[in-house]
Amino acid sequence: MNVIVCIKQVPDVDDIKWTKENNLDRANMLSKINPYDEYALNFAIKLKAKFKEANITVISMGPKQAEEILNYALAKGADRAILLSDKAFAGSDTLATSKILAASIKKYCPDFSIILMGQMAVDGDTQQVPLSLAQLLNIPELTNVSEIYNADKNQAIASVKFDSKINIYEIKTPCILALKQECEENYIPRIDDYIRAQKILIEEYHLDDIGLNKNEVGVIGSPTMVYRAFRPEIVKDTQEIKQDYAKKILDFLLKVDKK
């Protein structure tokens, strides 16, 4: 069974830095694997432990630097890593990104059973790529997945939190599962894992390889464009309480209308 995990390198949102012009200072921000993608990767590793024949391919689109998270994924237990990197990909919105992923998967990993991915990325937070990819590959999907109970070549059984319900679905492969919950297992790779991972060569593919036209990717291929970006101003008129702290909090607690 071939399992694909799509991963994205994101800036650490705990460490946001701004340039003087109020742009994100990406060059000086730490980068890491998108936490939701790590949940997906952990579930893939859990599936592999259960079904020895499972084979995990991690795919990431990004600059050369994204090799860091691919190496991390290999050290954690992935078997194969693909980097989709090309200057022409820069500025891709969710539609263009999904087209790049779909074309690459069709060409380099067509015999997959399941694609696991994070429900969202913490930097963009659109939640659109899993669905767009499912549509482009013409396969079914489950989103907001909290647990994967079983998976084989034919089907997966997974649960989804939906309003106040937990729904358990059987879904035929090939399919996409987008993870929202942490996996109870999270293996932190050790030095020897990284040494082992170094033996696996990261495959790198460019625009020409995947067979898309440059008008379909990047800024040109993206139907959406940022017209303006600004930092929201916080307009709180904060009053400082300088004494009788506990008493003041108690007053707030007593005064609040609980109806």
């Binding site: 539609l95 079914p140 139907p223 009053q239 506990a246 003041k248 607690l253």
Partner: protein, 341 residues
């Protein structure tokens, strides 16, 4: 006539229209007025489209009152079960015969699943989770210009689309539903060819209550403990705060870091990956104010922060700030109750 289309959402349990749909209709109506003012030669109207097995008359009336000029029902009994593929394909079949300039989808679980399937097939853009929307005129052309938060709300971006239809998902609770228009309008029922989804099967549905979750959606008072309450390698102060919450009939909550360090259960977590609250009173004890946490509580009415660091990020969002050791304040609060009891 040009059209702003609202994708209507129905609760499958009681077959009533979800509140977010009315919010989107009222916003669409305002956008129509805006567009009609900016370009007098192009007149817009609001159409709301439901993919459902049926709709009762009273609910349709409410849609008109919220601002819909036309209500469309794409009708089939297959829609009693939700599948993104089935809903998207039925909607597209209708849409291709009845196009619109703008489509607004609710940013709900269902809306978020349908919208990308629709826009990918139309090969157009989709702007996610918008919190504002307007029309702008550029080179004598009218553009729909939605704005969305990104980077955990640290940055707002207004995003245009090069292609039509202009599509966006809009969060619930952002715009106000206003039932101020007349209660009738055009109605159209559309019967699609039938669609099936035999690749997915719902095998079981369990009440989430078994999973022991805390419902913060109706919490009036939330007392939240951050990592600043951690002392002497013990969860003592989280327990103390929980006790105060119990005495005062409030909700006890914590931040992500507290859960990560196993000092409280995940069900109490407020923030991007936990629950969201719009409490009347939110008191943060020893909370630094990471943006993911702010996401989950910033819409609370009165926010009080207690932190020993006078430059703590949380204070930017507070109505009242207290620069003090939150642990000491908790002890003082407990002392009040001990006297009374």
């Amino acid at each position: 006539m040009k059209k702003i289309l609202v994708f209507g959402e129905i609760n499958l349990e009681d077959n009533k229209i979800e509140q977010v749909t009315f919010e989107l209709i009222s916003k669409a109506k305002k956008l129509v007025f805006e567009a009609n003012n900016l370009k007098k030669d192009e007149q817009y109207f609001v159409e709301v489209v439901f993919v459902a097995s049926y709709l009762v008359d009273d609910e349709i009336k409410k849609a008109y009152k919220a601002g819909a000029d036309k209500v469309v029902l794409i009708k089939d009994s297959a829609f009693d079960v939700f599948y993104s593929t089935v809903y998207a394909d039925a909607f597209l079949e209708y849409f291709e015969k009845n196009p619109a300039e703008v489509i607004l989808f609710p940013a709900t679980i269902k809306g978020r699943a349908i919208a990308p399937r629709v826009t990918v097939q139309l090969d157009t853009g989709l702007v996610a989770d918008c919190t504002e929307a307007e029309f702008i005129v550029k080179n004598d052309k009218l553009y729909f210009a939605p704005t969305r938060p990104t980077f955990g709300s640290e940055l707002m971006a207004t995003i245009l689309s090069k292609k039509v239809p202009y599509c966006a998902t809009i969060r619930s609770g952002v715009f106000k539903a206003e039932f101020v228009y007349c209660d009738n309008g055009e109605f159209f029922e559309y019967t699609p060819i039938s669609y099936h989804e035999d690749r997915i099967k719902l095998v079981r549905s369990i009440d989430d209550k078994e999973k022991n979750v805390v419902d913060f959606s109706n919490a009036k008072v939330v007392l939240c403990g951050g990592y600043g309450l951690y002392a002497n390698k013990s969860d003592e102060y989280y327990k103390k705060l929980k006790k105060i919450a119990k005495i005062t009939d409030s909700h006890f909550a914590v931040t992500r870091k507290v859960v990560d360090f196993n000092l409280a259960e995940a069900k109490y977590q407020i923030g991007q990956t936990g629950s969201t609250t719009e409490a009347k009173l939110y008191v943060a004890f020893g909370v630094s104010g990471a943006i993911q946490h702010i996401q989950g509580m910033k819409n609370s009415k009165t926010i009080v922060g207690v932190n020993i660091d006078e430059n703590a990020e949380i204070f930017k969002y507070c109505d009242y700030k207290i620069v003090a050791d939150a642990k000491k304040v908790i002890d003082d609060l407990l002392a009040y109750f001990d006297i009374k009891q």
